[in-house]
């Protein structure tokens, strides 16, 4: 039961820090509570009770509840789920992230959610999340609560069709970690919340239990139905391979500790060849495919046709954005609608320009610039495609592109090239 207590202590820490962020946020609201008769201890207990109830109200069964089922289902629609659809642990992770991001409650502003992409946790992205809402958090007296806590959710799959028994030790290791807040998972077709393990059994809480509605807007609503009186056990082998692991990181220091401890658990033993997920330095976007494009000479539109060319009956995959453009272009072509060569969006405004041969661009400033840049080398005879007076605008736009930290903007690079060449 050691693990269970450890996991529950992690959960308690989460609640405690939620409370502390809450405290930092609304010092005035909590002050009168300290004046309760009966000394500091009683006041403390009373305060805890207030926080406890506040947290529970976030999960109330009303559309206005910040993390209530209504809100989550509503957010699920943006992920392509309809009311009545079943959810998987990865979709749920993203829905939770959105719900917390959109939450307006001051208590929830101290928390952020990070969801790993393709079984990879990008360290810089997590650190960024730690500081994301820091400004909102800083108390009036400049309290040291300058870091946003981050809940790290890692959707993984521990085997193809069935769970791979090689991962059992990994799951045990994860659940033994102090910072782990449990695993969203289940057995096939039935969702559970795994909180710990004992020998070869997982300890879980089962949400499949009808309970009567609680009106959380009342001041003394009953709390007992929000807690699980009897956790259950099931053997590891019954576990569905699809699950989402959760970690709670209070600060950047915490995150460093988590990644250190996790790297020990993740170290592949000779039996399990690969870790279930990995940590990587830097931002996720640093590893995206747009990175190695620099080498190419820039009127690369011609090469889109070659994307996915085949050798024999093989499909050649290329590490290039042109692959993306090629696929998008094909899709758009299939729809028989003109699409812009730059943004590939297919929604051309009425004033589509077609200066460069058969290529079409929308007159969105970025696309238009792009067009000009492709067009430029194909009109060496001095016939400039650029309208007079646009040079100043160019400079302004470069600046904007640079500052907007907008990724994947080819224009920026092209402009740089152009400026360097000039």
């Amino acid at each position: 039961m050691d693990t269970e207590t450890r996991t529950s202590s992690a959960a308690r820490r989460l609640v405690a820090s939620l409370e502390s962020s809450f405290q930092g946020e609304r010092p005035r609201a909590s002050q009168p509570l300290y004046q309760c008769p009966g000394g500091a201890e009683e006041a403390d207990a009373h305060l805890k009770e207030v926080y406890h109830r506040t947290i529970v109200t976030w999960f109330g069964d009303t559309p206005s509840a910040q993390l209530g089922v209504h809100r989550l289902v509503h957010l699920g629609m943006t992920s392509g789920k309809r009311v009545g659809d079943w959810y998987g642990p990865a979709v749920v992770a993203h829905i939770l992230r959105k719900a917390v991001e959109e939450a307006t409650d001051p208590g929830l502003r101290g928390v952020n959610v990070y969801v790993a992409q393709d079984c990879t946790v990008y360290s810089a992205d997590v650190v960024e999340k730690h500081s994301a809402r820091a400004d909102a958090l800083r108390g009036p007296e400049g309290s040291p609560a300058d870091s946003t806590a981050v809940i790290i959710l890692i959707p993984i799959r521990l085997g193809g069709e069935k769970i791979n028994p090689d991962y059992f030790n990994f799951v045990k290791g994860i659940l033994s970690l102090e910072y782990c807040i449990g695993i969203i998972g289940g057995k096939p077709k039935q969702a559970y919340y795994f909180v710990g393990f004992q020998d070869d059994s997982l300890i879980y809480m089962d949400p499949h239990y009808c309970q009567s509605f609680v009106d959380v807007s009342k001041s003394d609503f009953p709390l007992q139905s929000y807690h699980c009186p009897s956790p259950k056990k099931m053997p590891f082998i019954k576990m569905d391979p699809s699950c989402t692991i959760g970690f709670y990181s209070r600060s950047v220091q915490d995150y460093e500790r988590i990644s250190n401890e996790l790297s020990k658990v993740l170290q592949p033993s000779p039996k399990e060849k690969y870790p279930a997920f990995t940590f990587m330095k830097g931002h996720g976007r640093d590893y995206e495919l747009s990175a190695p494009v620099e080498k190419r000479e820039w009127p690369f539109i011609q090469s889109t046709q070659k994307a996915g060319a085949s050798a024999g009956d093989f499909v050649l995959l290329k590490r290039r954005t042109e692959e993306r453009k090629g696929v998008l272009a094909k899709k758009n072509a299939a729809r028989c609608r003109p699409f812009c060569e730059c943004c590939m969006k297919g929604h051309l405004c009425s004033r589509a320009s077609g200066l460069c041969g058969d290529l079409v661009f929308c007159l969105n400033l970025r696309c238009w610039l792009y067009e000009y840049l492709i067009n430029e080398p194909c009109s060496p005879g001095g016939k400039s495609c650029i309208p007079a007076g646009a040079a100043a605008q160019h400079r302004a736009t470069t600046l904007r592109f640079n500052t907007a930290a907008n990724r994947g903007i080819d224009c920026c690079r092209f402009l740089k090239n152009l400026i360097c060449a000039a």
């Binding site: 079943w86 642990p89 979709v91 990879t120 085997g159 193809g160 991962y167 995959l317 590490r319």
Partner: protein, 117 residues
Amino acid sequence: MSSQYQHSIPFEVRRREGETVRAKYPNKIPIIVERAARSQVPELEQNKYLVPSDLTVGQLFFLIRLRVSMRPEEALFFFVKNSIPPSSSPLAAVYEEHHEEDLFLYITYSNESVYGA
């Protein structure tokens, strides 16, 4: 290992093709990407791919996502012999360790399972 491709094409043919491709494109890797059995993901139109050997698993995620039209948000998982290859490792490394005797690397892909029935 229940690969449809392996079932449908005899070993000798596969091996011969594997050898030819390896000889012809020494810096490319022949892989077979197949959907895991009973998975809800869309099927790929083609299963045979030649990838640059320095392509990482993470980048392959990106390319396959495009081909099955999945958003980055939707979970996609790769398996090589029923375990998850780390997204940072280049396919060349995965290939060296896990290619079959026919000189192909077999990757299965799957999405998450939903809970409920």
